[in-house]
Amino acid sequence: MICHTDGLVLRGFRMSESSKVVVLFSRDYGKLRLVAKGARRPKSKFGASLEPMTWGRYVFYRQDNRELQILSEGDIAHAFEPVKQHYGRMAAGSAICEFLDHITEDEDRNPLLFSIALEAMRWVGSIAEIALDVPVWYFQIRAAGAVGYRPHMSGCVQCGARLQRHRLGFSPGLGGTLCDKHAGVGMRVQFETVNFMAHLQVGRPDRIDLSLLRGVNRAEVTRILRAFFDQHIESRYRPKALDFFERLRAAEPALPYGAGIQDL
């Protein structure tokens, strides 16, 4: 059966001298592994359409019970050039693609997740460099929600109480934030951090208020997300691109976010 779908290329592997296997998160069929014959040759008909972090329209020949499907065409819809042409943005985009690969099973269709991924990739290309972590957090939090692991951040996960400014907790196991009274069982977190993470859950990128970043501790967000995903998403491998991105960010100043935020 010949199938057409939009998709985001998550990564590629060399298969032989001239061919490669592409991992594509497609809008209509979920994650696919596609063989692109001749894709490594200079005059390949696939051109740049199979580079990671590319949104394109793909045509493949689908057979049931096959782990690999045969790709026949690829046309670029959006190459995310601002992401690929900047070292730090490329690292952020890679972390997003890796996470998407990590949380999805093959051929599990999820159009919402697909559109969140495109939003996040666009945002990585446009956001001020100082806030480059935000689209990555945004994607992790929204994507987790789209596959059924939404962290609870709007009140205490134990008793539903509103969160107070001081003495807050987060429990990866219980899947959310804890009020003063119940914070004993979780990790200690700051109000600004949790508040900003909760804010990322509700809006699309254009409705996120980056002034809320003030006082947010980058390392704390990272720690919370790691602990949460370690608990809820089966992890068989260590994230490489995310480690890479976080190492790069850790070398940057502005921790916690302070001056500079008003310019965003």
Partner: protein
């Protein structure tokens, strides 16, 4: 199954790139028709290559002598160094016969998805050459992929403190291809890289 020894040989040949199970079987059966001396010569050659060929301590080219024939060739332009990802790329440029400068093989490309960072490549050795040599021009010849571009971006950041001219090989259309069939990324790279005519 013919014999255990043959099956073992087929499996070993099958590990080579571009050699599928069928070709491996054909090669193994072909070897059986050779004289024992011929087979021994081939085996000796393989062992010889493995024990004698090393990496050049300056540019990481393959060599039997130290430094390699490129680095020790005084007729080459020692003020120019071309940075490439893999040894295969060096051999490809040498086939053109056009480039007369030196090389530096990085042994990979920066790839966050594979966990390959700058520290995994021969970058510090390149910077060492720049600090202690007569290099005036660095040509970035990293592959035209996301990873190759990332490597070039990283290198250009590292090279800013040095008084060297940094150029990058052209990106864009392959010779002999059809312009109308090229994708928008390839075409825009070709346009960006246009020059006086």
């Amino acid at each position: 199954m013919a014999s255990e020894a043959i099956e073992k040989l087929i499996a070993a040949l099958n590990r080579l790139p571009g050699i599928g199970a069928k070709t491996a079987r054909r090669l193994a059966l072909e070897m059986l028709t050779w004289d024992t001396d011929e087979v021994r010569e081939l085996a000796d050659l393989m062992v010889d290559v493995k024990t004698r060929v090393r990496r050049c301590s300056i540019c990481f080219n393959l060599t039997e002598v130290e430094p390699c024939s490129v680095c020790s060739d005084m007729r080459r332009d020692r003020s120019s160094v071309m940075v490439i990802d893999f040894i295969g790329d060096l051999l490809a440029f040498e086939r053109t016969g056009l480039y007369r400068g030196l090389y530096h093989v990085l042994d990979g490309r920066i790839s966050p998805l594979d966990g390959i960072g700058p520290e995994d490549l021969n970058i510090s050795q390149l910077l060492h050459r720049l600090r202690h040599g007569e290099i005036r021009e660095v040509i970035l010849a990293n592959g035209p992929t996301v990873e190759g571009d990332a490597t070039a971006q990283y290198l250009s950041q590292c090279l800013t403190p040095f008084e060297v001219s940094v150029t990058q090989i052209a990106r864009g259309l392959p010779v002999g291809s059809d312009l109308a069939l090229a994708d928008q990324v390839t075409l825009s790279r070709a346009l960006e890289g246009r020059r006086e005519y």
